[in-house]
Symmetry: C2
Subunit: 525 residues, 2 copies
Amino acid sequence: MNSLRRPVSINLGTVHYTKTAPWYLFLRPLDMGMNIQRMADIAAKLGIALPTAEVYGGFSGFYDWGPIGAELKANVKRSWWNEFVHKSHEVIGLDGSIITNPEVWKASGHVDHFHDPIVVCKKCGKRFRADHLIEDALNINVEGKSAEEMTKIIRENDIRCPACGGELGEVKLFNLMFATQVGPYEGSISYLRPETAQLIFANFPRLYQLARKRMPLGIAQIGKAFRNEISPRNFLFRLREFEQMEIEFFFDPENDSCPYYDDVKDYEALVLTAEMQERGERERRMKISEIVPEIPGREWIVYWIVRSLRWYEKIGVKKDLLRVREQLPDERAHYSQGTWDIEFNFEGMGWKEIQGVAHRGTYDLSRHQQHSGKSFEAVRPDGSKFIPMVIEPSWGVDRVVLAVLFSAYDEEEKRKLFRFHPAVAPYTVAVFPLVSRDGLPEKAWEIYTDLLDEGINAVYDEKGSIGRRYRRQDEIGTPWCITVDYQTMEDNTVTIRDRDTMEQVRVPVDEVVEWIRKHVKSSSA
Amino acid sequence: MNSLRRPVSINLGTVHYTKTAPWYLFLRPLDMGMNIQRMADIAAKLGIALPTAEVYGGFSGFYDWGPIGAELKANVKRSWWNEFVHKSHEVIGLDGSIITNPEVWKASGHVDHFHDPIVVCKKCGKRFRADHLIEDALNINVEGKSAEEMTKIIRENDIRCPACGGELGEVKLFNLMFATQVGPYEGSISYLRPETAQLIFANFPRLYQLARKRMPLGIAQIGKAFRNEISPRNFLFRLREFEQMEIEFFFDPENDSCPYYDDVKDYEALVLTAEMQERGERERRMKISEIVPEIPGREWIVYWIVRSLRWYEKIGVKKDLLRVREQLPDERAHYSQGTWDIEFNFEGMGWKEIQGVAHRGTYDLSRHQQHSGKSFEAVRPDGSKFIPMVIEPSWGVDRVVLAVLFSAYDEEEKRKLFRFHPAVAPYTVAVFPLVSRDGLPEKAWEIYTDLLDEGINAVYDEKGSIGRRYRRQDEIGTPWCITVDYQTMEDNTVTIRDRDTMEQVRVPVDEVVEWIRKHVKSSSA
């Protein structure tokens, strides 16, 4: 977002920009500020993301990615895989099944514990999260209470429907996994995975062997996950069908030093520790290495947080809109020795988690070892065996894309545009013939297909005036436009126009591929 | 597959190779021949594909892609998207939701008609496809018959359980869609999509607008689909969770000529028309343009079949193992004016469909227009409106990968290897330091990360003897291995070793990226 347009009434989070904004910009009407609904409208208009099957009224919690969004999301995922799988010496990939053996979800605890308590109003029929109602009414935490206990609290305190004041029914537990019958045999129930992580844990014994017993060992995965949210909301932020990018990073607690630690220990970012939250403080700039306590795998935790933050810079998520927030003890799972959220400051919505880095200890592998009766141990060079500990950096793909959208969107007097980073822009370059005759389209098409052959994502457009074509590419965030004109036919040069500066340079056709590559690379350096 | 190893007892399909095979090769033991189970074993051993959650005994019809398979499958998908979306002037992309509004599946006919008739043996409890039992016993086609009618046929002809001879129960219809409850309201049932196609059809009105009313217009999608198969089987061939790559290519039946037709009309391949099948003939080499009759969109059908066949060559699917088979009239959907399957000759299994090219007429858009009450029409330059016809080239990703595996696998006296095409090989290049000291690993790592930065998928390995490292890369089909040795430290050159010829050349480090790019490109030409 161009922060200059930020209306004063919006939660500012950090206040880095407002000082430099000239006063008259604040006179713009409030509806010009960004918020999640406005972004949803822009996304639909440009074909980034659409309510699924909108001719039937959509379907709450589900979106279809349109032509521009499909490219953008694919680029984010590819960049991530390249960064965290290919460029990580310790990490291998996996692409697990969405439906798997239901024993996985028994072992993981999801069958027994992955539910929300819901309560129905007897009068108006609306459904609510019972824990939220109680917390709002009494300001007490009911984490871990049973459905019966919550019903009792509601009765004793006469908590009523916030919508109509009617009496509330019994609290019931609603499992958030989507269940489905597999095969024609009644009773064969499995689930759509509520997280990709368990596919990694369940496959650990085989993958550890395939990786020739390397330790530490990271196993990465990208894929869809499904949660039957009671109230999906906020566009791509809380979906029922979403996508995750996860790494389970296994290590030996007795040998947990990180060889790259020197490279990350001085990296600074906005942070908010649990202590700072308890003291009511705001986030501030600190070294990540200062905020992670002495727990096993500490150096790796710092490493994964810093690598994540560096990657966000590479895909154009604004650093000043990111902070690392330590989860409060009552927020994190009982087996976790610490969890850090990476949050993005969404204009109009404030700080929201787009990634978590959780210490899961030996919990998951122990559960699978116990449930399957198979060994989930690793072996040290000295022959002794141990269950590896795990650190889990876990990204929400849709949320990261949303952070990319909020970071890139900008409005100028004459254009609205996404200033996407070349690493993730739906198209890296557009190719136009100035006019649709005299051999210009053929020449432009040739340059276009050459770019594609070189692995550069290009788009071809010959419809409308050249000015309109530039605007169209600005709107969807294409960094460069190449135009073939009459001079091209004489001296084999083209113009390359920069989205951000709107300046044009003339480049020989033979050097176009190199020019683009060089500029993509230098913008990632 | 190296066809020379093909045992004589196997269904040969085409007989191109056997003439050139020396007689003594046929003396090899039969179990050296390839078949689907042996490929499944190799795939598990190398980490290509694993039965999902195998510590819990797997789950019938579901597989997890391991580290090597995840890369291979991603490369096949990326090659496809680049070829058919980016390089197709008429095609845009979509990435639709797996769960969508259930009205989509009512409109498409899946809720009412997408089922198999099953019957249970009263004695042994085994389940069977009733239509298959009847067809086997009486040699009659029961397509379109109701469950009651099939029960009656079974009773009247005393058809019994093929497993135990027991009496069979009533025929019941089993819908192949996975159903699931969405949200906490009982009765809100939706389905996992049984095909990606309907997401494209349902979104047509918006996507047509986004594409600025271009016609013809192709809309492409890659994604998971789910069918609750009664008998999943044959490794990746018949799965319950699988992946599709589809294009719905919409055109105006009154303006259906293809501007690229000259480029495809003389392309020859093995074909088997409906007529040839009825006459009991084998496939033979013919022009694709000769086998498509005069129906609307004829030129585009030829175009899509030829483009598909050309793409298979680019990813290393052997041309001689592919044929185009026209579906027989009783195989295809009632609304189809013609459907052509592209089949691959899997050793040990024979010709099997890996892709279909179906003429779906105006069926799907008409159904959605009727069901939604919204317009699914396109408009001609003269203002007249029409419902576009559609041609659907549809690939099974898992099956295409399987064809890549069968095409690439080879055995020599001293090595077993996948001769993957560089365009899809899990890794394009491996980088080794000759020894793990004297600065060689650092130099090798530098070359390795440079390759990654240039978008070339590389893998780094410093474990084991250089010979073993070569074999390891041969096994997973890496086309080239770069070795940093002591000479590198003197003159900044490395050796590049070719997987297929096992020959080595010395190349200056500065020219490695260009060398690899040039060789990838020339192998795709």
